[in-house]
Point group: C2
Chain length 791, copies 2
């Protein structure tokens, strides 16, 4: 292992990352998806894959019966966790290792884990053998396409066995088996999805209950039984590999596995390449079709090209060149990819939370606004008769609200104006507001009317003091006991309601509905006044008031005394005066800022506070972790950019959202810089050993706002009804940046530098624009702009 | 390893079994319970424990989020499965092994796994060190009490480290941590049981969300983080054991574990004994109380004595001495223990299926009839207003019908007369029939009236042909699609209804209700006539008729053509004439008999038959396993004993219920002979490799009937209203047996031999009884009987 070299290297374009140690960041991995599946795979070879049929399902399972649950942060791995591995054995010496690293964990001579936007690859060297593994996905089907290439780099002839091992795991207590299928040239595992009620049979009947592992080249021997493969040797030294060949055992209500063995003699420098497919299927006919469609060298090449084109469609509307190369890499490649993922597949759920669905699609406005438009209409088509929004949006026929979506939250309406704002800004398509939307109730209103009804519902859903009821939660899920008796209120929601109302009042103005605009602005003022009266604690805004009248998130609270979200939204929604903001910001700095980001609240909770709610792993911030909740942190950044004049503060906290940039940061966070996780652990004073660790969970509403912060805040390129406004907010250490922005069918190339100007000045060629905004934008045009910002 | 010696040895009394190989039967284990918990532990050290609060919960978890499901058969184990282990390291050579066998899996010099009725123990020798481990339970609390003794048997001074490792696993996605508690001298892991709804908080609030591992003696170092303990070494060679001491790391939203290390110098022949406690708790105060109550040598001794006394209360009413020593061991020790387990804790569920609850308590009549009496009343107190019985009996406040108990089954009423029969026989307490029982409906009937109402419901719940509706299942759960449309009928249930009615008619006669007796006998005849008309297939009875009128379980069916249960109940209920029985028995022999028992049906199903129902791992007998369902097999045995004259056939199949008796049998079945499992795999022609394997699941309605078969069938000692009837049915190879039977407060010592008699002849002293029955039984008396049976 090269100890001196940095363990993490981006490619020249920043669109690949190479990790050269399997132990420095053991959970670090990459992820690929298409509209039917998603796979997350770690540098060491552990994988978590799910596909939609239409509910999320697995084709490679844990060794026991796992709970059906949502994706978990900080998933921990263990020897029998699902993964994709290949054992290499020297048939002359008996020496063994495995690629990429698990299960043998040998000390490798070379290890490279290479994550691209459309593939995941490894190159591993040990015992004079190089193993290269590449995984790709098709664009429209559920399957993994694996290339495994073995090269003799020892300089002398070698005899080795090559044994790909793809455990299938515990498929079903009702029925499971696996066997070799000589016609399909692979292991086919079969199961019956468990059910009890006869009616469920008809729901389950066409589930893909088979898992296949197909080989392009027939192997010399195979194994379908986990027990037979592993034997007494254990996964680090399987008994089956101590024999001349695998035992060709089937699995009969035993744990299925897929292992196949090739015995090869390689001359010096000779290589051998194998291709495999792994995935779920309904029956053998489907497996046969998948094999003929994909399992050849030509098909792999064609499929990889198609998939790269599919990813390219998500490349986003911004390219930047700044002094911060890591930021460039992230913003030009990975952030839009993560935004695209959210908008493309809606977290692979059939019932996304309404606030998530709206925000995820908000990001899609920067990539494919027509998708965001459709999502907005879909969400509104499920609006309740009273104007409120449901807790989740049902995307598939027969889908049901599950888990947290069965708990009443009161904030969903707030997100309508916040997210619509970006659609209108990016497209200028105010015509959307006139679209009629019919719901299942039978009522029929335009988009404009529906959002207005949602605003009316928010105004109505307040108590006698003018504060917003919280019911069993607002945006903060765990805060489920503040108002379950029907009286408690949310400080954040009151402030966020004001922000939403103000945004919507602007749209009303644009649409010529001055009365409505006045009504909503007055409502916003009322909310803000109520918040100032009941929730201003002298230096910051409180988080809420419980059913029993206890104000919390205030100075006298020993835990959770200050919360970030109310402060951000007091800035955004106008509740906080400049004087109040001047008191708030130092408090955020002093109490909430950490080396790993801005905490959601502090001090962290160490135990349940019964009148507030759950102490969870993230959002209410239990002592050991929780508090850098990036979705909250990004709103703070957004509020700073909206406030203006906070360039350094905003940049600092924007930067903290990303993993890195120093190697020490990466190691502490334990994640590649290819996505923003939903949280970093925050207990930095209490538990420095684990503080800063990434949740490893790339599902987060953070990303669309982070992209917005970069585009509209840092670069200052915000769509307005009549054009593109230009108000960059560069951190003071930067002298210049270059930006390419696609907007309403045109391309803007900006050269932004500091100059002797008192305000932002924009030139096209020699012409200085009267204000920092490009209007009358022509589709297909390229605008080359020179921008000067004050020194 | 002693290769030549048998791997399994019973103690002289048959009340312990010693297994001398950890690999011959890797899943073989023992189990202990009290009314609050149960633990099953394998010879290799893997354990599955659950406790009631009041729903079943765990204090040692898998490494991932396991589904909450019922107990699964043939549970498979994997490296990180919960278990209890101790690592021994030679500090001079660095050599490592673990006891009892996992996780290191070293080749041991000696291995003894010893299962007793009230403890589980190991003695393991390797590297000149002997490790003895003993696990016991308290009688009234939830905790494991562990003694670990280490002896230097190398003949020279040694320096070793002793590291008990009790993994705690993934406790909760909501919150989990673990740390060393110096006051309690142990690792305390904490978690929050996940929930979403505020109302669930109040249900969860007092759950025992902590797991503790306490040491009597403070260790030199400790580890609370699984990750830190294991490191890159893996469980077979943990990184923490490669350091001078454990790292004293806490776990912060990481997987908790408990490992403690003692560094000891042992002179030749010196030993060192340690005691530990492992279990769940609500808070530290409870842990402190548990520590002071149990964690000392004296307390361990006292607790073991109390627990042995608790087990002794379940010793049953029968002692036999026969030519079959394995049978003696099983019947005198293990079978009543398993019966006691069922009646004592009702499978540790809060909503046992009604048929299970009644049958499990039926067995309790042979041990503690007052418990069975209470259970019978409890079941009847949940009878529906229409006379039917619910699918499950709720035992705890707030309990709900779960899983299979939400599916309508139509057989529950049948079990009332079948199980009451034993209570009346054992106690002669017909007074029970006059007990009033009020239900939540408010209706109030005597036991006699309630059972009559249940019989009326059975009579009514038949179609126009007189066949019993099956709805979504009868006793055979997976047969869920025969009648879900409301038309399909169960052949078995029709025949079982006749049996129940006939039994109940006898009780009616006893109670002087001749009209009722006639009505029920006529009903039974009607059922039998209908079965003969619609279901007799020439050589056996069909299993049922689907909603669409398809008769199944008949000659033309390629799969499932003959089912065992209809034949057994046709014999018991009188549907089968002697001529029919003469046709049935050879068909059972030819089609259903296997080396591992009598199949439930044959040929096994290889795929779903949509008009019948699920293909599951056991009951409808999918190809790879399923078909020797012991609960069905024992009814066949019972029907043969009731029929009479089938002594050899009955004995053969009774014997097959037990694991063994040859070593080859044990190895194939993979289970110690300490319980009857719910099934053995049956695909003996199709899949001989796995046929015969034990389910490893000791929850089964089989055991009460097996005990009844031995007592009332083989020994022929059946309670009748006026006394104890004596009609032994010895297999032809046996010349004599000795039996001690406790019955209605008296003791019967029987010397049973073959003699020149044409029928059973009983003598007390010199007095020959007029009939083979002892009447006028006196409490406290010992009756010494000489019994002659025909040669």
């Amino acid at each position: 292992m090269r100890k001196e070299a940095p363990i993490l290297q981006p490619s020249n374009n920043g669109d690949r990352y190479e990790l050269t140690s399997p132990t420095a960041m053991p959970k670090a991995g990459g992820f690929l998806w298409n509209q039917k599946m998603m796979i997350q795979i770690t540098c060491r070879g552990y994988a978590t894959a799910q596909f939609m049929q239409p509910e999320p399902a697995k084709y490679a399972h844990a060794p026991n019966i796992e709970a059906k649950t949502f994706m978990q942060p900080e998933q921990n791995y263990y020897a029998h966790h699902p993964g994709r591995f290949v054992y290499i054995k020297d048939l002359e010496t008996g020496q063994l290792f495995s690629a990429p690293y698990e299960p043998v964990r040998a000390s490798l001579d070379r290890f490279v884990f290479s994550v691209g936007k459309s593939d995941v690859a490894w190159a591993v060297e040990h015992m004079g053998i190089r193993v290269e593994m590449v995984m790709g996905l098709p664009t429209h089907d559920v399957a993994e396409l694996w290339t495994i290439k073995v090269t003799n780099i020892s300089g002398r002839p070698r005899k080795i066995s090559v044994t790909p091992y793809f455990p299938i795991g515990y498929m079903s207590w009702m029925n499971q088996s696996a066997e070799w299928n000589p016609d399909l040239v692979g292991v086919v595992a079969s199961s019956v999805t468990p059910y009890q009620k006869a009616t469920d049979y008809f729901k389950n009947k066409y589930l893909k209950d088979k898992t296949y592992f197909l080989c392009e080249t027939p192997p010399d021997s195979w194994e379908a039984s986990q027990e037979a493969f592993e034997g007494e040797g254990g996964l680090h030294n399987p008994s089956a590999l101590q024999e001349p060949q695998l035992s060709n055992s089937d699995a009969r209500y035993e744990t299925p596995t897929a292992a196949v063995q090739y015995r090869v003699a390689l001359e010096a420098a000779e290589d051998q390449e194998y291709r495999f497919m792994f995935g779920p299927a309904y029956d053998e006919a489907e497996i046969r079709t998948m094999r003929s469609r994909y399992l050849s060298k030509q098909a792999f090449v064609r499929t990889a090209d198609e998939y790269a084109a599919y990813m390219e469609r998500g490349r986003g509307c911004l390219r930047i060149e700044t002094p911060d190369k890591e930021l460039d890499n992230f913003v030009n490649n990975w952030l839009p990819r993560q935004v695209y993922y959210h908008g493309d597949v809606n977290r692979l759920t059939t019932d996304p939370q309404t606030r998530n669905y709206l925000q995820d699609n908000m990001g899609m406005n920067y990539i494919r606004p027509e998708v965001a438009r459709g999502a907005f209409l879909k969400a509104l088509s499920q609006q309740e008769a009273n104007g409120s929004m449901p807790d989740g949006i049902l995307l598939a026929e027969g889908a049901e609200l599950k888990y947290i979506n069965q708990i009443p939250h009161t904030d969903h309406c707030v997100w309508l104006p916040l997210t619509l704002d970006v659609y209108l800004g990016e497209t200028g398509d105010y015509g959307l507001l006139k679209e009629p939307v019919r719901t299942e109730n039978g009522d029929n209103f335009t988009v404009f009317e529906r959002v207005s009804r949602a605003m009316d519902w928010l105004l109505k859903s307040r108590d006698e003091r003018g504060l917003s009821y919280i019911a069993q939660g607002d945006w903060c899920d765990p805060m489920n006991m503040v108002g379950y008796k029907g009286k408690g209120v949310s400080g954040w929601l009151t402030l966020a309601t004001a922000y939403a109302l103000n945004l919507w009042a602007d749209v009303c103005d644009h649409e010529g509905a001055a009365d409505l605009a006045n009504r909503y602005r007055a409502g916003a003022q009322d909310c803000n006044a109520a918040a100032n009266k009941h929730l201003w604690d002298g230096d910051w805004f409180a988080r809420g008031i419980t059913d029993d009248g206890v104000v919390f998130g205030i100075k006298k609270d020993p835990e959770g005394r200050i919360w970030l979200n109310p402060q951000s939204f007091a800035i955004l929604g106008g509740a906080a005066s400049p004087q109040q903001i001047a008191r708030i910001l130092p408090q955020v700095d002093a109490q909430l800022t950490t080396p790993y980001g801005v905490l959601m609240c502090a001090p962290p909770f160490t135990k349940m506070r019964e009148d507030i709610g759950r102490v969870t792993q993230k959002a209410t911030g239990s002592a050991e972790n929780g508090a850098v909740y990036n979705h909250a942190a990004v709103f703070y950044v957004y509020s700073l950019y909206q406030l203006g004049g906070q360039h350094d503060r905003a940049y600092t906290h924007l930067r903290q959202l990303l993993p890195g940039p120093s190697e020490a940061d990466y190691r502490q966070r334990g994640q590649l810089p290819i996505y923003i996780p939903n949280y970093y652990r925050g207990g930095w004073r209490e538990f420095p050993r684990t503080a800063g660790r990434s949740s490893q969970l790339f599902n987060t509403g953070t990303v669309s706002w982070a992209y917005r912060c970069v585009i509209e805040g840092l670069c200052g390129l915000r769509g307005e009804p009549d054009g593109l406004a230009i108000r960059p907010q560069l951190p003071s250490a930067w002298d210049a940046i270059k930006v390419t922005r696609e907007f309403r069918g045109a391309t803007f190339q900006l050269d932004i530098r500091r100059g002797d100007v008192s305000e932002v000045t924009v030139r096209i060629g020699e012409q200085v624009l009267p204000q920092p905004k490009v209007t009358d934008i022509k589709v297909g045009e390229t605008y080359r702009l020179s921008v000067l910002v004050p020194k």
